[in-house]
Amino acid sequence: MKREMKTYLQEAFEAPEPVKKKEFLQMVRTENVSTFDFVKAQIGYIRKRVWVVSVFIFMLVLASADYVGKESIWIVSALVPYIALCAIAEGTRSTAYGMSELEMSTRFSLKSVILARLTAIGCLHALLLGVMIPVAGGTAFLPVIRSGIYVILPYLLTTVLGLLAVRKLYDWESTYVCMGCAVMVSLLSVWTRGFLVWIYEEKYFIWWCALVVYLLVKVIKEYKKIIYQTEDVAWN
């Protein structure tokens, strides 16, 4: 199209000068916040109990490695559901307390905020588990990877069940159900160690790995479903 015609078209489609533009743009203008700075900022909003519980369990495990010795890996796998509980509770706080609609209208989207907080908590948990697993696994003379799988599975199972509870119940009662799930998974870890010892044999390890992969995919899917469900409610 000729430049002249474009100019005439621009004039033909001209609209009267907007009146409220400056105020609006001042209100919404977002500065370039780097991902690292954003995550760092969100750390301040994570409840203190999350850090306290995570570190407390970590200290408990380290202490047990000294006193309990080779059984400490099973203590870790029994305690890990409570660490997962902290992450679920924090990530679904808005949904559980009915604040998600309000928080969706804030400067940064709810999705970004949740992701940032989970990243911060995830990094802490990865660090703690990264220390707990080799320490506790070493006492049981298990390879690190095998110890890791035995510990991560209860973590993921608690997370999946907790997220399912939050999505189905969608209110503050889901917190109690999540706690129940953590207790249940913890007891299951203890029970299987006591009565189903054979499942920890090396020949069944491949099934443990498959289950971990399956649960990891489920965790991601459940989180996505919760986010979409939250947006759906807000739009309606």
Binding site: Y8, Q10, V28, T30
Partner: protein
């Protein structure tokens, strides 16, 4: 100081909304609502990839507006004293545009005035590049033939 990217997009969305609803206040409200809903979903204004969502939100809000309001006032804001020739050309072009369909007018606005990239337009309309180019060609062809008949420009 030049316009920022955000400010530029605001103007373009506002122009699009004004084209749809023909009222300054309504167009401003819809523009602001569009950006707020866009930020809710994406958290920040992005790039061409997210541009079609901006227009889609604006389009849907304009349609909702039409459903609520029964009458829409047509405001013609032309008169420029001392520039009669330009004013006449504007009138001819506006008349020619009024003979086009809504879809053709919208295509011309988005492509040649708001300079929306072809890829974003394809995603917005859900059509292929070939189909879009064909529609644009038809729209500009019709406009030029109408202007040619009126002996303007």
């Amino acid at each position: 100081m030049g316009k920022t990217d955000l400010e530029e997009q605001y103007d373009k969305i506002y122009r699009y909304c004004y084209f749809k609803v023909h009222q300054r206040e309504a167009a401003e409200d819809i523009t602001q609502e569009t950006f707020l809903r866009f930020y809710e979903r994406f958290g920040h204004y992005g790039n061409d990839f997210t541009l079609q969502y901006l227009y889609r939100i604006a389009h849907n809000l304009c349609v909702d507006r039409f459903r609520k309001k029964e009458e829409t006032e047509l405001s013609e804001e032309i008169a420029l004293e001392g520039h009669e020739e330009q004013v006449l050309s504007k009138i001819f072009l506006k008349e020619a545009l009024s003979l086009l369909s809504e879809e053709e007018k919208e295509l011309l606005l988005l492509r040649y005035v708001n300079e929306v990239p072809i890829a974003a337009m394809c995603k917005l309309y859900g059509i292929s590049r070939f189909a879009l180019y064909r529609k644009l060609k038809n729209a500009t062809g019709r406009l030029q033939s109408i202007l040619g008949e009126e002996g303007a420009l």
